[in-house]
Symmetry: C2
Subunit: 437 residues, 2 copies
């Protein structure tokens, strides 16, 4: 099947694990059989490939997430990069055009569009395959996933099907209701709208051409910034008569808050942590190198990362956003396509970071206007290129670079280094990329 994963979100609700550039789908919190951890993105990608090893996966996302996606999935995955945020209709149109014009998929083929972060079992992805097959039949222009409700939720939109069959035409949609209204809907056979839809690529391309004047993917990409913000629901779904829905009754969780995320966690402690036996329903997620000790707590989540420390009653944790918005702080940790970095010291006039490059990877060849830098190699082997001069480096080697000097480092094995940045206006914006001759 063809599948487009919508990957958005700034992820403040899971602070301090998520931040402006690390959205929740990139947090490695799910334990694998080998004892290591994977992210929601990695988990979902693995599930798709397990259900359909031939699946063509395209991730629709913003440029800020490209490095993290490459870091976590490698470069085999397709990425449709939105030059800026323009809501779901332009994003889905762009990804659809990408599949046809770049990936050369026939407009007659079907595609399934799905959020990047459902917490589900493999049967969910089997259901997506069914959805895709159904869309390919062309009985309807859109095929949606209708999730069998387990309680009268106010959080979801509802789909009213015409029949109780596995596949049914959609009668109508209902916005997020009150609990009482939700009960009424459910008694009439309503389903939760899971935010998933399947269609033939040509269908959405035609809709896009009706609303936007563009030639192909490349043209659409070029004029993306000029597009109107409009949701796929508003631009397409609400105006379409021929919509089918397929029922899904498997497990399905939305884990957007600490409360729901900790419910989905198998372990009570990730990272260095100890709790005494007077603790109950406490969870510790600790990305720091030093231990967390919890004593005498109930229903509390403790999370520590380079960004900060959260200690919250689980119920209260859903109200986190305004507090996190109030923190004025630079990014302390980031995944890059070549590895990752962590800020380990901040002073007025200097910043010290620890850089880890994955084997075979290298930074962009770049320079800074307003800061000098010093690298001290901690471990691994590689090569630095400084103003065109290439040099082998190993643990203990020191490379001093003045402002303006072009530089990069290539990791032959995993390579770790301390980078000391010195200057009065240190900023991630102060970076000019250069071509290597």
């Amino acid at each position: 099947m063809n599948i487009i994963l919508l990957s958005g979100g700034s992820g403040k609700r899971l602070w301090p694990l998520s931040n402006d550039i690390r959205s929740k789908q990139f947090i490695k919190i799910f334990k694998k059989e080998d004892g290591s951890y994977e992210s929601m993105l990695q988990k979902v990608y693995g599930q798709i490939k397990k259900v359909d090893s031939e699946a063509k996966v395209t991730i629709a996302t913003s440029s800020t997430q490209v490095s993290s996606i490459h870091n976590q999935l490698g470069t085999q995955v397709g990425i449709s990069v939105e030059p800026c945020r323009r809501d779901t209709f332009p994003a889905i149109a762009l990804a659809t055009a990408y599949l046809v014009d770049v990936m050369k998929v026939s407009p007659e083929e079907a595609v399934v569009v799905c959020p990047v972060d459902p917490y589900v079992n493999d049967d969910y992805f089997e259901a997506l395959k069914e959805l895709s097959i159904q869309a390919g039949k062309g009985e309807a222009n859109l095929v949606l996933m209708g999730i069998e409700p387990t309680y009268p939720s106010e959080k979801y939109g509802y789909i009213i099907p015409e029949s109780k069959d596995f596949t049914s035409m959609v009668s109508t949609f209902k916005e997020k209701p009150t609990v009482d209204v939700a009960k009424e809907y459910i008694s009439k056979g309503a389903l939760w709208n899971g935010g998933v839809f399947a269609y033939k690529l040509g269908y959405v391309l035609n809709k896009a051409h009706e609303l936007i004047d563009f030639k192909d993917y490349y043209d659409l990409f070029a004029k993306y910034e000029s597009l109107t913000k409009i949701s796929f629901d508003y631009a397409v779904v609400e105006k379409e008569d021929k919509i089918q829905v397929q029922r899904f009754s498997g497990e399905w969780k939305d884990i957007g808050t600490w409360n729901t995320l900790t419910e989905a966690m198998e372990e009570s402690i990730i990272g260095k942590g100890v709790m005494n036996d007077t603790c109950s329903k406490v969870q510790i997620i600790n990305e720091m190198d030093v231990p967390v000790l919890a004593m005498g707590l109930s229903d509390v989540v403790i999370c520590a990362s380079s960004e900060g420390i959260l200690v919250s009653d689980k119920e209260q944790s859903s109200y986190i956003k305004p507090y996190v918005d109030s923190f004025v702080q630079q990014i302390m940790f980031a995944e890059k396509s070549w590895g990752s970095y962590k800020v380990i010291d901040v002073e007025s006039g200097s910043m010290t970071i620890k850089v880890t490059l994955n084997p075979g990877n290298k930074m962009n060849y770049h320079s800074h206007k307003n800061r000098d830098e010093v690298w001290v190699v901690l471990s691994g082997q590689g090569r630095t290129i400084v103003d065109g001069f290439e040099q082998k480096v190993k643990a203990g080697d020191v490379i001093a670079m003045n402002a303006g000097c072009k530089h990069t480092v290539v990791a032959d094995t995993e390579l770790k280094l301390i980078e000391v940045q010195l200057g009065e206006a240190i900023s991630v914006e102060d970076k000019e990329k250069h071509e290597l001759d």
Copy 2:
């Protein structure tokens, strides 16, 4: 007055603020009028000097605390360093000999011995002065402080006075009792033993000579390791008939646990922290550079430092010790006589620390057998001396030192640097001091 402050303790009960080398008396947690914070040691020293600007203060302590004392009080304070721990009688005998033989105080003068960390008002130190004056009169060989009990505590020893006068002869001592027995003592006019005693220097010197064969302070210091461990109470107090007690009814708190320490704190947040309005009786003490966010908690103390993170119900916090004992971890922060250092990154084969030197200070001239080091100066001005070669340094300068190389840095202004240590067996023990030619 002459005063000996007994400064001991490894301070695990206040982890992660205290550790093996930073005892609780050095934690800067008490807000001064200018908004900055001072430690219990600094607070007590300031109180003594306020009550008696001529007071001669000697701190009896182990060598591990000397750097912190100099860092916090400068070098004007007398320090009687115990070469090893031998309980209170040898410690008090050594400090007494120090006053007579080094500070040249007459054996006829009185001295007050007091713990370094009472949480009290100035009236307590006025009372110490009274104690000293009383001891100088020679009516008794020892004068103790008896604290008016506020509840039938099981935590303290009791002094039974002969009369209810301000100054009274002591009838007898009682060990820590049960609550019921404590009630009975109190009904008979018993006082808490505050662990304070005043005496004429010559009295304790004579007692020491009776029990130990030594000439003077220097001789006692030299044979300190061979001394028997014995408490002052057991060696002197219990055998003495002529003991007086003076009553003290002012505020007096023992702040050895998080529960009692947070009670004594004026503020609910020290450092970067935010709590929402569903928090009650929560205290945040955060020494990290990133924020702590607390939500929906009651009666909880949150403390974060380079050593770790504690989140504990206040009542439960008194049971912290065995958990902290179980953490196998190197020291992550230390105050030195010349400034301080903080470990900011630990890897197998390397450790990165941030060093802050106070103006006019310098490290010992030293070398390491098993590690190379790289210094990157972040700010300030000073001079490095490497294998005898002196060089001015400023922000951005890099100094690389191989194992075996002798080195030091002198701070002309406050000087901060990043030190990257590289080697397979990095240890604070791997340090050889050298004379500067």
